[in-house]
Symmetry: C2
Subunit: 199 residues, 2 copies
């Protein structure tokens, strides 16, 4: 029986290259454009499909819902945007990261990013919020590893705690306090963090 053949060899060979990769890129770009232009409400499967030049049914076959598509696009965006420099010092790395963060939050995608983050915590797509945070901490890991190696922060420091203390006020100032994030303010935060977690 053909059923037996199917069970005997792994028939499911993936084909992520070529056209599929191109479609993925077009979808991500379309999602980010729509988010920047009209926020989450503009990010319907219909609009994404039109903008990306992709069939709507293709989107449904890939994603359980639009939140999945949105979070995928944002993770990819974060990967591109997070140009994590190696400045030679922890202070320089942290400063570069926070300036980068401030630029994104001040940009057209800023409020959309936060809306997505909040929606994810609200149960829009269970587990996706954790997935985003994990990917972000993974990108940050080398920065902290270098800092520990240089002896700039203590070896048993909690990296998540440090980054929360540093980035939290940045988010807060933009999101809750409705204030622009100035360079001098970022430097103040950096100074505080470096002083506090010095071994």
């Amino acid at each position: 029986m053909s059923d037996k053949d199917i069970t005997e060899r792994p028939v499911r060979q993936k084909r992520p290259g070529g056209r599929t990769a191109d479609v993925t890129r077009r979808i991500n770009d379309a999602v980010l454009e729509l988010l920047a232009e009209g926020g989450i409400d503009a990010c319907t499967f219909q609009n994404v499909a039109n903008r990306a030049g992709v069939e709507r049914s293709t989107l449904y076959r890939r994603c359980p819902d639009r939140w999945q598509a949105i979070i995928d696009a944002i993770i990819e965006f974060a990967r591109r945007e997070a140009a994590f420099h190696d400045t030679g010092t922890f202070r320089g790395d942290l400063s570069a990261n926070l300036h980068n963060l401030a630029n994104v939050l001040n940009g057209p995608l800023g409020s959309a990013l936060i809306t997505v983050a909040a929606a994810l915590q609200g149960g829009a797509a269970p587990g996706q919020g954790e997935r985003f945070w994990a990917s972000r901490m993974k990108l940050l890991a080398p920065t902290f590893e270098r800092a520990v190696a240089r002896g700039e922060i203590s070896a048993d420091a909690d990296w998540e705690e440090i980054f929360s203390m540093a980035a939290g006020p940045i988010y807060f100032r933009r999101l809750i306090a409705s204030r622009p994030i100035g360079d001098e303010w970022i430097e103040k935060v950096v100074d505080e963090i470096c002083a506090r977690y010095r071994p």
Copy 2:
């Protein structure tokens, strides 16, 4: 002619009392329940109308879109929830405030609150975000005034900066890092703030 009578006196008299007030309350309750249960996606006009026992057309006559309904409900909730203590020390006041904040953020409405904040920044309701923050700082002012009078923080300290540094990590840990906010973590933040801004 009766037409002339109509033009001579302002015919548009509002009727905010009685039934209207009751409908408003039922709508707000329904929105908060749906937000807590299923997040933003669950908060359709259809669901709100069913839950509140109100006609859908009534919702459309009141709100331009669901964001307005959500924002109204959240603002009303925040008005009820805000409780500011006078514990006798700045450390105690700050701790009480942050615990209060953490409780709200950890609760079922936590992410909905942040979503609304993000929506306000995204232009959903121009000016509302700034007004909300101003009222919040106004409520916090006595706490800082007492702290200055007691000599617990320096007289020229920036109150907005202090509160941003304190509350920012709380928001961040819940919103971005997808972590629960523990009591010991809050105390750590309080310690840092008190030590940093001591005169």
